[in-house]
């Protein structure tokens, strides 16, 4: 087994899919000659040329719309948004157009495209370049939302995303880019299916359902909780939040009886609220104590490092939430 960075895993997936399928092309700001602000697309223009690795003007709405249009003809565009925060600039083309096209047309025209890029806090980029966006996307039917945390899952899921006949939002957390993980050899093909969660750590007292960078934070928190408090936390990596694999969560909660959903997007009306709502609707009998969610407090992300740390639902906040949840009396 070799180890690669998260960036390398994505770069490999892009390269392999571009090689395998001529209908795949990439479009975005600074992705070609420069190789991407975070160097995710580096050297791809060298191999595939400017016709398939397209540097755009700073016109998110325009090139997002062009990607939608190209996908409607059967091409498989991969759009990079330099910062996911910029989805708001081109929201109409994503949500009103791409996501709804298959439905509005009664399935006559589908939109096989990937929107990828990095989001999240931790680098002191401030309010307009640090927010996690997955919960907003989950509000709009028609677009899948993939949130891998490990290099292995990132490569396997990006390949699945490119091959998916629907728009797929592929979210890379900026804190994940330089993390490393085990990978099969470069010539060993594999995919990871969209919509299947993965238990990344087994435990017996409580289930943490999370994804993306919060997963790494949750795993660290789980180790410390075990060592310091004797609490055995099971960590479920959702890997995608649309579709949402509740069955894997239920299987875990059937064992632990407690659930905490953790994510970095807004806590209010966020995906964690959805997960908690669903378990109350579909399988409340599995719970022995109230289910909870932990997300961003309703504030924008500040530049100041200590303030950012206060807000982000990372290790410290996760540990606090777990202890709080464990103190909640059981229903019985």
């Amino acid at each position: 087994m070799r180890k690669t960075t998260y960036i390398q895993a994505i770069n490999e997936a892009l390269r392999e899919e571009m090689r395998d399928d001529e209908s795949v092309f990439m479009i975005g700001e600074d992705i070609g000659h420069y190789g991407g602000l975070f160097r995710v697309t580096r050297k791809l223009m060298d191999e595939f040329g400017p016709n398939r690795v397209i540097d755009t003007p700073i016109s998110e709405q325009g090139f997002m719309g062009m990607a939608v249009g190209a996908a409607m003809t059967g091409m498989r565009p991969i759009v990079e948004l330099m910062y996911m925060d910029f989805f708001l600039v081109c929201a109409d083309q994503i949500f009103n157009q791409g996501a709804k096209m298959n439905y509005m047309t009664g399935g006559v025209v589908n939109v096989p495209m990937v929107i990828r890029g990095q989001h999240g806090g931790g680098k002191r980029y401030g309010s307009q370049h640090s927010q996690c966006v997955e919960s907003t996307f989950a509000q709009f039917p028609g677009i899948k939302v993939v949130v891998p945390a490990t290099p292995y899952d990132a490569k396997g899921l990006l390949i699945s995303a490119v091959r998916d006949p629907n728009p797929v939002l592929f979210l890379e957390h900026k804190m994940l880019y330089f993390t490393r993980g085990e990978m099969p050899d470069a010539d060993e093909p594999y995919t990871v299916p969209i919509g299947v969660a993965d238990v990344k750590r087994e435990g017996s007292d409580m289930t943490l359902a999370t994804f993306s960078y919060c997963l790494l934070q949750a795993l660290e928190a789980a180790e410390e909780l075990e060592a310091e408090h004797g609490i055995s936390v099971e960590v479920v990596d959702l890997r995608s939040i649309v579709p949402l694999d509740m069955e894997t969560i239920y299987a875990s909660v059937a064992k632990t009886g407690r659930l905490l959903a953790v994510h970095e997007s807004q806590s209010n009306c966020g995906i964690g609220a959805e997960i908690v709502a669903r378990i109350y609707e579909e399988a409340p009998h599995l719970l022995t104590a109230p289910a909870r969610r932990l997300g961003m407090a309703p504030a924008s992300i500040p530049v100041s490092g200590p303030l950012e740390e206060v807000l982000l639902p990372w290790k410290k906040n996760i540990k606090a939430a777990v202890l709080e949840t464990m103190r909640t009396p059981t229903f019985a």
């Binding site: 209908s23 092309f25 016709n51 398939r52 397209i54 755009t56 003007p57 016109s59 709405q61 325009g62 090139f63 997002m64 719309g65 062009m66 990607a67 939608v68 249009g69 190209a70 996908a71 409607m72 003809t73 059967g74 091409m75 565009p77 109409d92 083309q93 009103n96 157009q97 096209m101 298959n102 439905y103 509005m104 047309t105 009664g106 399935g107 006559v108 025209v109 589908n110 096989p112 039917p141 028609g142 899948k144 091959r163 998916d164 006949p165 629907n166």
Partner: protein, 340 residues
């Protein structure tokens, strides 16, 4: 008395009626048939809307038929087309079945999108129809994306996108003009300038008088034509298509036209006078084409027969659509995602 937004229909800058060659009479006769079919479908839809059978917003293109019919004959079936929510005429001109079109507007199971798309989302990829759009301007970058796809594939297809004068002030238009010109995309931007952005005269909101001059800032070829003259539209679109196919990049066409009915069914039309509409009836595409045909030796009786045939056909289509069943309840949940 509202101020008139309308200049004389013949006040176009670059191409006049006299400057294009004449089309064969039988082709014009077919164009007349199509134009009249579009008119009758739109009128029937207005009747259905008035009787409460059509919900939501429905925008008819009565008066706009010239641009659609001229375009359809000038392009290949596989060329891509996107258009605005005022898009019934483009779809019908490209060959969409009136039965399924009306059924779709009524939300019936036999609609081309199972009743899920409706009036504002006419689509049929088999006819190159890649979608009308409910959001002003949104279809324009999509058409550019289709042109980009053709360019990447090198398959010789071009794209045409229709929009109105009101769309010109959406930012995405200018993003698209820039990229299309910069990348020499095979695309035609067709502005159906009916002088009103919805209920507001364009003169009241635009700082620019001649819209077709806009894109010249991007270095794009741009012409203004009489959009009500089907021969003019035909030749202009055909020439633009040839340039696009030859890799010479996009063309912007501003076709001056006039919307004879309201913006949507139920429009109170307080923004214009009866006199203005009456005056424009003299310039409208069906009248222009009919006069041409009579001038070129086609009898009124021949045209009468065409109209009667179309009347019967559209009546049958309305009947079909009204008798089409509602979609199954379970269809509400399908098609959110495509299956691999």
């Amino acid at each position: 008395m509202p101020e008139s937004a309308v200049k004389a229909s013949s006040a176009v800058a670059e191409i006049t009626v006299d400057s294009v060659p004449q089309l064969p009479v039988d082709q014009l006769q077919n164009m007349y048939r199509m134009m009249y079919r579009i008119r009758r479908v739109e009128e029937s839809l207005l009747e259905l809307a008035e009787s409460g059978k059509i919900g939501g917003a429905m925008h008819t293109a009565i008066g706009h038929e010239g641009s659609a019919v001229g375009m359809a004959d000038a392009l290949q079936r596989e060329d891509y087309l996107t258009c605005t929510y005022r898009g019934h005429h483009h779809s019908l001109a490209r060959g969409m079945d009136a039965k399924r079109a009306i059924a779709e507007v009524l939300g019936r199971a036999d609609g081309f999108a199972k009743g899920k798309g409706g009036s504002m989302h006419f689509i049929d990829p088999s006819l190159g129809l890649m979608g009308a759009n409910g959001i002003v301007g949104a279809q324009v970058p999509q058409a550019a994306g289709m042109a980009l796809a053709s360019k990447i594939r090198g398959d010789g297809r071009i794209a045409i996108t229709f929009f109105g004068d009101g769309a010109m002030y959406q930012g995405v238009m200018h993003e698209t003009f820039n990229m299309a010109q910069k990348w020499s995309l095979p695309i035609i931007f067709y502005c159906e300038n009916n002088r009103y952005s919805e209920m507001t005269p364009i003169t009241r909101t635009s700082s620019v008088e001649e819209m077709y001059t806009f894109v010249r800032a991007y270095g794009m070829r741009s012409v203004q034509i009489d959009g009500n003259d089907v021969e003019v539209v035909y030749h202009t679109v055909k020439e633009a298509a040839e340039r696009a196919r030859a890799g010479e990049g996009p063309t912007y066409i501003e076709g001056i036209t006039y919307r004879l009915a309201g913006h949507m069914a139920g429009d109170l039309e307080t923004y214009r006078s009866e006199e203005e509409i009456e005056e424009q009836r003299g310039y409208e595409p069906l009248v222009v084409l009919k006069n041409k045909l009579l001038d070129r030796g086609v009898s009124e009786e021949t045209l009468q027969v065409i109209r009667q045939e179309v009347d019967a056909e559209v009546e049958e289509a309305v009947e079909f659509a009204q008798n089409s069943p509602w979609p199954d309840d379970a269809e509400a949940y399908t098609d959110v995602y495509a299956l691999a």
